[in-house]
């Protein structure tokens, strides 16, 4: 039992990331009808927002401290971050420590701007083109974005730690009534899950309870009719693209402490997120979220020693295997709507 709970917990963080990316992909596909291969790049850019902020906070100037000497006997050069000089050592240190959560605020305007530019500048011109062209141009864009990041940040992963208080793990065993040390789980991953749940909840609430969201949902169901009502649906869709970009970006920001960001992390997640979208059902938001968590957890179960000794390598292929089976038996995916790209 405790092992099962541990595996479910283990699947949550990856599942959260899949769910958030798949949610954005589905929003874009549902509203704009565009298959966005550059969505993984948005996730990656989000992670690099966290990297950037932590770098900005750590920008330092050098002071020579005459009172101390280094091991060669020269006066010691001390690096002092600007933030510590400006806000005092304590606040400064706290800012550096909390750079990842702070990057959430930092990333939202950036991601929305990038989303707007992408939609107005490029995607807009591809609404009427075939899906293959959309795939190809966004694929090209993804290459460009990741190469730009690689150019400025290098090819190596950049570790970006979570705030001190959230590092380490927490033993849930006592809380759940198991033997001590049977269910140990990193705190940050739990926060990641809670954060994802919050974002997903916010997106759904936004779509459900605001007039804006209502129009967008109507537009997803039948774009032409809504257009006939005299509502400028395109403008709203542009905003939806910005929101989807922000969702992917936030998923990336918070993922930075879990896996040190590198320039190709977006593509790694994108391939799986597409599988998630297809399994959930093209165009279904709840489907995308459910499938994201489901596949994340499934992957985690397949990675147990028991599973890998029974069927070697099952952890590597489980998601693809499930996707193939689902696509063949339930072409619409778990919760797909009838008639949405069924062929």
């Amino acid at each position: 039992m405790d092992a099962i709970i541990l595996q479910i917990l283990n699947g949550l963080d990856k599942g959260s990331a899949y769910a958030l990316i798949a949610l954005g992909l589905t929003l874009i596909f549902g509203t704009l009808g565009v298959v966005n291969f550059a969505h993984g790049a948005l996730f990656m850019i989000g992670a690099f927002c966290a990297v950037t902020l932590s770098k900005i906070f750590s920008l330092s100037y050098e002071v020579i401290d005459e009172s101390q000497t280094d091991f060669l006997g020269n006066p010691l050069k001390v690096q002092t971050p600007y933030v510590e000089a400006w806000f005092g050592p304590e606040t400064g240190a706290a800012l550096i420590d909390w750079s990842v959560p702070l990057a959430i605020l930092f990333s939202i305007p950036i991601m929305i701007t990038i989303g707007f530019i992408m939609e107005r500048g490029l995607i807009k011109h591809f609404y009427k083109r075939p899906h293959a062209d959309q795939i190809l141009v966004t694929f090209g864009l993804a290459i460009v974005l990741q190469e730009i990041i690689k150019y400025y940040y290098g090819a190596n992963p950049i570790p970006t730690p979570a705030p001190d208080v959230f590092r380490g793990s927490y033993d849930f065993s006592a809380m759940l009534g198991f033997e001590p040390n049977s269910v140990i789980y990193p705190v940050w991953r739990l926060i990641y899950f809670a954060f994802s749940a919050l974002i997903i909840g916010a997106v759904f609430a936004f779509l459900q309870f605001t007039t804006f969201g209502m129009v967008v949902r109507a537009g997803m169901a039948d774009r032409e009719t809504v257009g006939l009502l005299g509502i400028n649906i395109d403008k709203r869709f542009t905003i939806m693209f910005g929101i989807a970009a922000a969702v992917a970006g936030l998923a990336g920001v918070m993922y930075a402490p879990i896996n040190a960001p590198n320039y190709h992390m977006g593509m790694d997640f994108l391939v799986l997120s597409f599988v998630v979208v297809v399994v959930g059902g093209m165009g279904s938001l709840p489907g995308a979220v459910a499938a994201g968590f489901l596949l994340g957890i499934l992957e985690s179960f397949a990675s147990t020693t028991w599973a890998t000794t029974t069927i070697p390598g099952i952890n590597q292929i489980i998601i693809y295997l499930v996707a193939i089976i689902i696509l063949l038996t339930r072409p619409r995916g778990l919760m797909g709507k009838k008639g949405v790209m069924e062929e």
């Binding site: 298959v35 490029l122 011109h125 083109r129 899906h131 293959a132 062209d133 795939i135 190809l136 141009v137 694929f139 090209g140 864009l141 993804a142 290459i143 460009v144 190469e147 730009i148 690689k150 150019y151 593509m267 391939v271 597409f274 599988v275 297809v278 093209m282 070697p312 390598g313 590597q316 292929i317 693809y320 295997l321 996707a323 193939i324 696509l327 063949l328 072409p331 790209m341 062929e343």
Partner: protein
């Protein structure tokens, strides 16, 4: 000639001449000149040109004719590579059985994957093929390389060891891949003035096979079968209501293009007997898509042009560094020189992928027909022909046998 129309025959002739004279054509600059770095006439790169040409020609038979966008074609390339190296390990270093087996195994895999993937079309087909390829990659990279059952040798890559059986290895036959005794890596060098030309056995074998593959693709394009595939791409609804089950046709196209990919993979192993799983990764699948689109999907010569261009960029662009850039712009005032170098720097050297991405986007946005369409537009501009005449011209070309 050879069952081809005059125009196609001329095209084939051009390809034959280019392929045979490549060591000269690709080495236009003398060995000691500053431009020698732009020479592409060395065996390693020339082999890549023709091998990836085969890969792209095959991909084009699927994507260009039927419109099914496979994002997992590299799987067949990898399967071909592994098959060929296994033949080296078991039978000996003759490349013939290796290449044949690579075509057969990739064909079988393409058939199996095709049966399943082709039940869907559009984006679903793309994702299914992608899923299959990623699965194959994962299997080859780790699963199939455990000590008990080592089929792929994992990260190290499959290669030939001294204790491999090589049952049919003849006495005194070369200890490297060979074609009836001719070593694949043997290179005849010819110095002519300041130029150095290299003639490599491996290259010529691959080039001959490429020409054959190209010839077959012309025949397929111009055949009733090819016409049927274009009809499927053009309007699947009408196809269905014409009383034909389209699936056997698309499956045949998928298998043929998978076999082309396997052949390319086999040749990669034949010129360098090492097969690694990274050849199957989805980036490799993406590359062949890029090649085909860049050159012009659905055209005969497009994929060959596209693969050549991309491989050239990969090898030549990536060699340009800041020193080279400075030497180019040294005639400019210092400030401007530095500015130019800073501007161009991200696009060359390690950043050549950026150039590739930008180029690819520009092509998809402005020139969906690829370089071939670009060429036609330029031709039209120069000759100043009316567009109407031209369309009629093209319609006539696309009609088989008159």
């Amino acid at each position: 000639m050879l069952g081809l129309h005059k125009k196609d025959f001329n095209l084939l002739l051009i390809v034959v001449v280019l392929a045979m004279l490549a060591p000269f054509i690709l080495n236009p600059f003398p060995e000691n000149s500053g431009l020698a770095q732009f020479n592409a006439g060395y065996p390693d790169l020339m082999q890549k040109f023709v091998i990836f040409g085969i890969f792209a020609i095959g991909f084009n038979i699927l994507f260009g004719l039927t419109g099914y966008l496979s994002f997992g074609h590299a799987a067949f390339l990898g399967i071909g590579s592994y098959s060929c190296v296994w033949m080296f390990k078991l039978l000996g270093y003759s490349v013939v059985p290796g290449i044949l087996l690579s075509i057969v195994t990739s064909g079988i895999f393409a058939w199996l994957i095709g049966i399943i993937s082709l039940r869907r079309s559009g984006i679903y087909f793309s994702i299914l093929t992608l899923a299959f390829a990623q699965m194959s990659f994962a299997l080859c990279y780790s699963v199939l390389s455990n000590p008990k059952f080592n089929l792929t040798n994992g990260e190290t890559g499959l290669q030939v060891y001294n204790n491999d059986p090589q049952y049919f290895r003849g006495e005194g036959s070369p200890n490297v891949p060979h074609f009836f005794g001719m070593e694949m890596n043997a290179t005849h060098k010819m110095e002519l003035g300041g130029w150095l030309f290299q003639f490599n056995t491996g290259y010529y074998l691959c080039a001959v096979i490429m020409v054959l593959a190209f010839y077959l693709s012309i025949r397929i394009f111009r055949s009733p079968f090819g016409m049927m595939l274009r009809a499927i791409k053009s309007n699947n609804t009408r196809m269905n209501y014409t009383g034909l089950n389209a699936r056997p046709y698309t499956l045949a196209a998928f298998v043929i293009s998978g076999m082309y990919a396997g052949l390319a993979g086999g040749l990669l192993s034949a010129v360098d007997p090492l097969a690694g799983a990274e050849r199957m990764q989805w980036t490799a699948s993406g590359e062949v898509v890029l090649m085909t689109i860049l050159g012009g999907a659905g055209t005969l010569i497009g994929p060959v042009l596209g693969s050549g261009l991309i491989k050239y960029f990969e090898n030549i662009f990536s060699k340009i560094n800041d020193n080279v850039l400075h030497s180019w712009f040294s005639f400019m005032p210092d400030g401007i020189e530095d500015l130019m170098v800073t501007l161009i720097h991200p696009f060359v050297g390690k950043g050549w992928h950026l150039t590739l991405g930008v180029l690819f986007m520009l092509i998809v946005i402005f020139l969906p027909g690829g370089l071939v369409e670009g060429g036609q537009r330029i031709k039209r501009l120069i000759s100043g022909k009316k567009a109407a005449d031209e369309t009629e011209d093209e319609a006539t070309q696309s009609t088989p046998a008159e």
